[in-house]
Amino acid sequence: MSWIPAPVSRFFHRTSSPPHFYALADRFIPWLTVIFLLLLGAGLYGGLYLAPTDYQQGDSYRIIYIHVPAAWMSLFIYVMMAVMGGIALIWRMKLAEVMLISSAPIGAGFTFVALVTGSLWGKPMWGTWWVWDARLTSELILLFLYLGVISLYGAIEEKRAAARAVSILALVGVVNIPIIHYSVQWWNTLHQGPTVSKMDKPSIHVSMLVPLLLMAVAFKFYYLIAVLQAAKLELLKRETSSQWVKALLEKQA
């Protein structure tokens, strides 16, 4: 890897060693939790209390403070999984496999939350719980992809082989991500078009936008905490017989 500066490459090599990563995660999790709680508190206070009501939807629009960040996370985590899958396939890096499989349940959770909150909002606003338009359908497919990743990994006994199969599935599924994102522009859908990620200025009032962005960042931190916890557990399971796990157990006993 000549085109990557040596210190960066060294950092990655060190971090990717399981015991080092485990210790690093342990050290970071409390800080991440504090930041997450602060952002969550500020976002919820701003979104549910400070932000004004919407001119058409009244207070019902406040579900976007959960729905939109969850939907963004569902896409973001899948892209992360695909990147990890690529790294796992090319460099056979164990930690990338662990991060990939640890991300899947979290991503599935966010996708589920996005679908359910959207449905709860859809009933009073659109007049229906569910329609088979391009946005809703492609997001549902994303949920199935996550579930596919989880079950494929569980179905193969040998975990390194399982991780390779899952990496390929994660990479294949990544074609769905641009489809979800652009579905509301490419086709007529019942789901409204993008509000925040437009080229010109967002079509949401700034007093409503700020809490939304706070919530989005809070959700990112939640993902970090959850994925590090899950990865720690997965590492322990995979490396039960290795020296560093034994040392760790002795230290805690």
Binding site: D54, Y55, L89, M125, W187, Q192
Partner: protein, 144 residues
């Protein structure tokens, strides 16, 4: 990068490229079916199916909503700012149904060229603002 890794990288990029092209062609082929609704111009141009149920989307024309009888029957016009189509619906309308609001109706065209809807859904637009801001704008809900 070691040759074997480079090979794997190229293989993965190739796979993604092929998948992307395949997905593009598939979506192009199913383009019509992926449209959730027809626009009023499509209907005026005769692109919508005859004697079959389809969905029609558009903006409710201001001042066009009328209730001719005491029952639930509603008549209004839908427009995409080019062509208008008359719609009849008998039932309960969603909260967001109002003049100037986008809706999607499911139903079929009858002999008079009127779209008889059996279901009406409100299509919310992507604008969020406080009521004061909306009041200070002249026509808040008429952004296509």
């Amino acid at each position: 990068m070691k040759p074997i890794r480079k090979q794997r990288l190229i293989l993965i990029l190739l796979m993604l490229a092929i998948l992307g092209v395949a997905a593009t062609f598939a979506l192009k082929a199913f383009n019509e079916n992926l449209m959730y609704f027809f626009s009023t111009s499509d209907v005026a141009a005769g692109k919508a199916p005859d004697n079959a149920v389809f969905r029609l989307g558009g903006m409710v024309v201001k001042g066009s909503v009328e209730r001719p009888n005491a029952d639930l029957l509603v008549r209004f016009k839908l427009s995409d700012f080019e062509k208008e189509v008359s719609v009849e619906y008998s039932g309960i309308l969603p909260d967001l149904f109002r003049e100037g609001q986008g809706i999607v109706a499911k139903g079929k065209l009858d002999g008079r060229g009127v779209f008889v809807a059996e279901e009406v859904l409100a299509k919310h637009d992507e604008n969020y603002m406080p009521p004061e801001v909306a009041g200070s704008l002249k026509k808040p809900a008429v952004q296509p």
